[in-house]
Symmetry: D2
Subunit: 406 residues, 4 copies
């Protein structure tokens, strides 16, 4: 039997996360790096039927010029990550995969996206329907060309501004005719890509705070087509820390008075977030979980600022003011200095592996056992990282039962 | 039926933790303060048969001059904690309880203890046996005088230097004759107090890194007498954080390269720890759990320094250097500014309540469900705070079953 | 000869800075506290003819209810500063001085001021001229009642929103007729008070970022009346650190790439600054000096957020990203935890002493030798704290020569 | 007239500082890098007769295997500094200069040095005199081979353990006969090299806390031979910050209660410092200046720990506890993350340029105008960085007058 071949399609393929994912898959396949940072490589998860690094074929969309290799090189030079040796060893794979890149499909872009888009052959769609058709054609061509057994679509594009779902976005019954008649606001960009993937039967994973497949109509679509999907907004830094520290305060009955988090970063994600509209989406996602973890809402403040010199190194300072016994005020402060793309890329690989596995197991809809990866996990309201991780452990320990379905 | 009366006997009664515990019990009983910082006051534990604050009568031993009120006042003035209002409201209770104080019993004291001891009427015992008899007489007199239903003995004294257990300390069979013949090293000071309590049937809780009841012979004694006990070394600051942060790194497969923790504090605990012998006991206790939480031993360094100006405010700086994907080194740093006595005192109340409850349930020996309170929990090797807390939840949810006994 | 009596008139008398200043003067006069934090008490400045603490009589305006004693008590309780002993020893003085308080004069108040004003007898002026007359009457009555030799007026009120000076505010020649005809925007609130003081011959010191006497027309007035004045915006925390750290980077030719400063605080100052208009005034003042100290403008970001639980404890986190040799990026981070009123109050006393001295020396106009106290010193463009301090040393070492006039 | 050629002889040539200095000189000469980090490249010092980067010829001694290129490459790979492009552009120069390397001369080595020494052809001297002769022969051969106009010797070797000077080391009159008769402890290793340089007329600069030319007999020798020298212990991180922050506290009359500094680093310097003897030399040097800057001695604590994963990235956490007005305790904390070799190397170039200039000006003995570079500047007791820098400015502004000689 021929070995399994799994496609990974990256929306935002020339970004830091996507290009690091491609570089990482190649480096893992070539034995250039240990699997540090991969949850699926933990000893306790050995023996599961995860796809090996060399099973993957990578492609993607982007609205910017460049390819996997130039993007990885740029990240190397600006952010001082990876080394020349790894880049040299993997350059061939990255070039090969770059041939699978397709120009992005733009439909009603927001200002931040417009500012970034510089690929002359990107395709402007007149309607959401047209955009979906174009994307699906790309996905199907990729699958056919590489004789892929499975194909997972991953949203690693820039964050889009938040919005309130329209009636059409709230039910598939209303969405479908709206798409057919070319109703202008029927879907945002992230929704167009999610629709294209799910409708064509390809699992969809959303690393960003954009809506993606969380729109009710698209959740319906996923169930109808029997496709698993996951999201939203990877939990890689400050929020990950909140999800382990806030339960500690709660369990010790220490009252959090205020929690202030300031994030600075200098990558393209930061540039897009510098637009107030796009930023508010991210800030909301980061801020919400505190009340859920503590059982009350302390004063909180979250900021994200674009500081160019930091490149991909996101630096966060958090100041937690809490009250202990007899009204005594105390403080915890932390600073987190992490490289965003390097924190996110192994989790992309994890999520693709886990999603492909779920599809093979015949699962569809949101995957609650993946809650530990996300700031706003679909369908899971508990934000305690320890408890979320236990969901994953339980899922993998019981191959025939979905987490939460007991 | 008369309301239950529970005695709390504090070894090291004039220290910051003990006097804050007394002040706190009074303040809670008088409605002067909310139960912030008490685990037993968490909403999810409501409905359990925990003793109310006004059920307690407090007494204790100390080798230093002073009483509950002077010690609480000193802490207020030096460390800028509590307020005048609380002190005034509780002064009467503290004075009443101070009448229960007895001069400490000294047997083969180490240098740090000798330097502290200034109470002229403290009693020097010629043998461990004599010390035990004196202590037991004090405990029994306290119980009788106040018609107590239960009496819990708590070690809140200064840390003693570490040592390797002798053969006599390893079995009750050998210890008892050694005590009778007055063998010089039969028990350290913390062991003498623990023996006295357990032998007389009083539960014993050890807040310190001193050996206390962890000596095998004393564990045997506890089981033989059917008495529950708990310890050792309260987890209130840096180590508490380690026990939630290290599992986070482990679960994300991020490799901790080094973990450096520097602690500075200026209370009497800090002064005793300034003695290199006593310090090593504390440092070992703080350092050990990292390897157990991560599954490997990163380079680590822990220091504790006495900095007088900080008084009871323990300040810790931790620098965690870790490796992510593709060999990328990243950093987490935190500073913790907590007031030791205020962090520990509510946990003393929790432990006394939980221990009294266990005794009423007929339990004896170490209590694994209390692991979440300690740096070195007796009989529990998992240091993950979330999992330890789940043991407590399971214990309280199943009144007829002990944690870990399933 | 009767001892000198000097009046200190505080605009914003019920604020934290003003009430701490009053408490501090009383505590110094009564020997309750050492002069820690007072520049004029440094050993190298001994022997100068500074007014002794007991030479001062304190009064002031406010638009809020309360007095020196209630304001000091509130600060004590909310921010956990001072002790009961000091408050008790000084309560009599504070009550005596509180009798000198007069209701504030409001003229075209901004939204933040309106929200604060709760004193029912405050006086609403129909024109700047009317406001000035009312204020001058208060000042003159205070001086007469206490037979004061000198009277210094200090602006310690909340920050007003920034604005561009009008033509009338740019020359005395235009301002005076505008005042007479009741032109509506002739002066902002801070300008009204400054005009009242200077015009009546009383030196004026501006602790805030509000315009105060920095309007060109008022600078003219000060010279014409022969009155010294000083400002603007006390340098007490993050900016003080910038003014010593930035010169260090400059002298070592280390290139600052970005300097991010996040400030959080919970006092009334913070509440007023939470209004975006008022905040921008403060942020601009804090941000400007970096370019002047470094000789180029790095990317910088300054935020101030109101976090209620911090009360008067301003906490700042600064992240300085700099480039060293061979393009190597390095980092300095600091956190500053200072109590604003306690940092500012001794400097108010210093400035009043130094201003009274200057007036006795016959000086008028801005005092460049006071640059080391301010974020935006009038007439001094060098922000290097060391060099600014040298101006003060030179001034005091040469009693007959003004700093900068060599 | 032929352009001037200046030799730079590095003791400890294969260390991080020395190899970075060589790489930096080449990169500057080839226009590969801007002169960031060089004090002598500041705009205000333009126009001085400093030697251009391409005037230098580099050589040195080491007891370890390796050369300039291998050492620079190792630093690149371990500490993630420089880039491949710079290394490639400068590899030729580094190889050429590596031909000038000579095996180190070992005389009575301490344990840490012995552990490092792995160069098989290093020369063990039987007496200090013999060591001196060998070193001088190397220096003279280097000068002759390259027709050097000047030659500056720089100590960039590992720190040696501290010791109290012997009588022989205190006067040249006693030292010279002791050398002749081969008295065993006549000079430590750093003294042997310093003697060799000064005695042969070559200026000597000591970047380390080792004694070097600070022994009274060697200071005498320098004056007698008319040779300038400088030292000791470069001020590059935590101490530099102390020398700007402590004067700030002093000038504001804020009382420093305690100053705790914890340093962690993982380079060879750190490894040698892990030896308690060698460490105490460094710690003393770092700790002393606080009392001199403040005018009183606060409690202070300095630690240096070897943490392998940090490589050349020295990370320091400082906690400054200070008292403000009315007894209020406040805090400043900072963390410094700097790459030691990259901070030191440009200062080596500065010092060589300034020393060569001084020699051309006919100066001899210690150079007080270089105080701003050192933790323990010879002959200057003022540790205020701003004032020290003013000495350098004054010196360069007055070409005919030495600093401090007015």
């Amino acid at each position: 039997m021929a070995p399994r071949r799994v496609g990974l399609w990256l929306i935002g393929a020339c970004g830091g996360v996507a290009s690091t994912t491609a570089l990482g898959l190649s480096a893992l396949a070539r034995g250039q790096t240990p699997p540090t940072g991969l949850v699926t490589a933990l000893p306790q998860f050995a023996g599961h039927d995860f796809d090996a690094p060399d099973a993957f074929v990578v492609g993607g969309h982007d609205i910017r010029k460049g390819n996997f290799l130039t993007a990885a090189r740029e990240l190397h030079e600006r952010s001082n990550v990876f080394d020349e040796r790894t880049l040299a060893a993997c350059a061939g794979d990255l070039e090969t995969w770059s041939a699978n890149l397709r120009p992005g499909v733009v439909y009603r872009p927001d200002a931040a996206v417009t500012a970034l888009a510089d690929r002359p052959d990107m395709r402007r769609a007149g309607s959401a329907r047209e955009a979906i058709d174009t994307i699906q054609a790309d996905l199907r061509a990729f699958k056919a060309a590489h004789k892929l057994d499975q194909l997972v679509v991953v949203n690693a594009a820039s964050t889009e501004p938040p919005f309130e779902p329209t009636d059409e976005q709230k039910s598939l019954e209303r969405l479908l005719p709206a798409l057919e008649r070319g109703a202008p606001a029927s879907l945002p960009t992230s929704g167009v890509y999610a629709f294209a993937a799910l409708d064509a039967g390809f699992p969809y994973v959303n690393m960003t705070p954009s809506r993606g497949a969380t729109l009710p109509a698209l959740e319906e679509l996923a169930r109808k087509r029997g496709v698993p999907h996951a999201g939203q907004d990877l939990k890689t830094g400050e929020t990950l820390l909140k999800s382990v520290l806030a339960p500690m305060f709660a369990r010790r009955n220490l009252r959090v008075l205020s929690w202030v988090g300031h994030n600075i970063l200098g990558n393209r994600d930061g540039l897009v977030l510098n637009d107030p509209d796009n930023k508010s989406s991210k800030v909301t996602s980061k801020d919400r979980l505190l009340a859920e973890l503590l059982g009350y809402k302390p004063q909180s403040h979250v900021s994200i600022e674009y500081i160019e010199s930091l490149d991909d190194w996101k630096t966060a300072w958090d100041h937690v003011h809490f009250e202990g016994f007899l009204g005594t005020k105390m403080m915890l402060q932390f600073t987190w200095q992490g490289c965003d793309s390097l924190l996110a890329a192994p989790l992309v690989i994890d999520l693709v592996r886990l999603t492909a596995l779920a599809q093979r197991r015949g699962e569809s809809g949101p995957m609650p056992h993946l809650a530990c990866f996300f700031k706003s996990p679909i369908g899971v309201s508990d934000h305690d990282f320890g408890k979320q991780f236990a969901l994953l452990e339980a899922y993998l320990a019981n191959p025939d039962r979905k987490a939460g379905s007991a």
